[in-house]
């Protein structure tokens, strides 16, 4: 099943890119379409953060991952590069689990 998802995502994402370069702009360049397309990444990424950090199965929990997220926020405010943010959060979560 994972392989199917990998291939479907690969083909689909490529076609979405190719469509943008090929479709006449007027078909998609409408204010509503643009607005929704602009907001979709915001909604999805925010939902992914929430689920990734606070869900365990069907439960909502606050654990080491929440501390990792807090560290990520601080690092982002300090304008740290992506890798530092990601591994900084991991390190914080790992350390609090050791304690």
């Amino acid at each position: 099943m994972i392989w199917v998802a990998v291939v479907v995502t690969g083909i689909g994402c490529y076609l979405l890119k190719l469509a943008g370069l090929s479709v006449p702009p007027r078909v998609l360049e409408r204010p509503l379409v643009e607005r929704v397309a602009d907001l979709i990444p915001v909604a999805l990424l925010s939902a992914l953060v929430a689920v990734q950090v606070f869900a365990r199965g069907h439960e909502l929990v606050v654990d080491a991952r929440a501390l990792g997220l807090a560290v990520a926020v601080v690092l982002l405010l300090l304008r740290a590069p992506f890798l530092v943010v990601v591994f900084g959060a991991a390190l914080a979560a790992a350390l609090v689990r050791l304690a």
């Binding site: 099943m1 994972i2 392989w3 199917v4 990998v6 479907v8 995502t9 690969g10 083909i11 689909g12 994402c13 490529y14 979405l16 890119k17 190719l18 469509a19 943008g20 370069l21 090929s22 702009p25 998609l28 204010p31 509503l32 607005r35 929704v36 397309a37 602009d38 907001l39 979709i40 990444p41 915001v42 909604a43 999805l44 990424l45 925010s46 939902a47 992914l48 953060v49 929430a50 689920v51 990734q52 606070f54 869900a55 069907h58 439960e59 080491a64 991952r65 990792g68 997220l69 990520a72 982002l76 590069p81 992506f82 890798l83 943010v85 990601v86 591994f87 959060a89 991991a90 979560a93």
Partner: protein, 230 residues
């Protein structure tokens, strides 16, 4: 259209900037590789994902849903929804790049956030192509190399939770979201989407809460129509 040959100095400067972005972005493929095997994908699946999908947020989305125990296909759906923004980048880039035929088919694969950003500001087709292609191709090469390194390393270290790699996924999403959190409407959408996702976690299958949150974007887009007439 003026399509004069690119001044060598301008060309060099665009290449230098683009390579800088390419190296910085490509390197974080390491985190994708490590997190992906931690989510339960094999090294091969992880590497093929980077090769075929090649758009970071979608890749993280797919493995994020799988890691949470969701059906891989709802992960794929989330990834595709995130991939729609590349279509908009394409619309913006097409008249600037003016690629046709095989070149367009190849260029499409490296149409991502960063290559668009480094191409879209240029004044001529020649300059836009240099910025877009240098950025896109350098990220493609490094991102895939880094993914494999991260996946192999992640595979070797054992239980990812010990290293907090499960926390790294949330941080990665937040870092991708961060630059988009400008403006009140985007902030409201982000908060509402998180609330919808968390509220649905106890009652729907894993993977579905994130898709449910996408409706927030739809609603906000439709309802705020009068706010910004354009």
């Amino acid at each position: 259209m003026t399509d004069a040959l690119l001044d060598p100095r301008e060309r060099r400067s665009i290449i230098r900037d683009s390579l800088g972005v390419g190296v910085a972005t490509g390197a974080y493929g390491v985190s994708f590789g490590a997190v992906s095997v931690a989510a339960g994908l094999s090294v091969a699946q992880t590497c093929v994902l980077s090769l075929l999908v090649f758009t970071g947020a979608s890749q993280f989305a797919l493995i994020g849903v799988v890691a949470a125990g969701g059906a891989p296909i709802s992960g794929a759906l989330t990834a595709l929804l995130l991939g729609t923004r590349n279509t908009l980048y394409g619309l913006r880039m097409a008249p600037l790049l003016r690629f046709t035929g095989l070149r367009r088919v190849l260029a499409a694969h490296v149409l991502i956030d960063e290559s668009t950003a480094m191409g879209v500001t240029r004044g001529s087709t020649a300059a836009a192509r240099v910025g877009f292609l240098t950025t896109g191709v350098s990220i493609f090469v490094l991102w895939n190399l880094a993914t494999c390194i991260g996946a192999v390393a992640g595979n070797a270290i054992g239980d990812p939770r010990t290293y907090g790699l499960d926390a790294a996924v949330g941080a990665a999403f937040l870092a991708l979201l961060w630059p988009r959190l400008r403006g009140r409407r985007n902030l409201q959408v982000a908060v509402a989407a998180a609330v919808v996702a968390l509220a649905t976690v106890p009652v729907v299958p894993a993977g579905v809460p994130v898709l449910a949150a996408a409706t927030v974007a739809l609603l906000a887009g439709v309802l705020t129509r009068s706010e910004r007439p354009s």
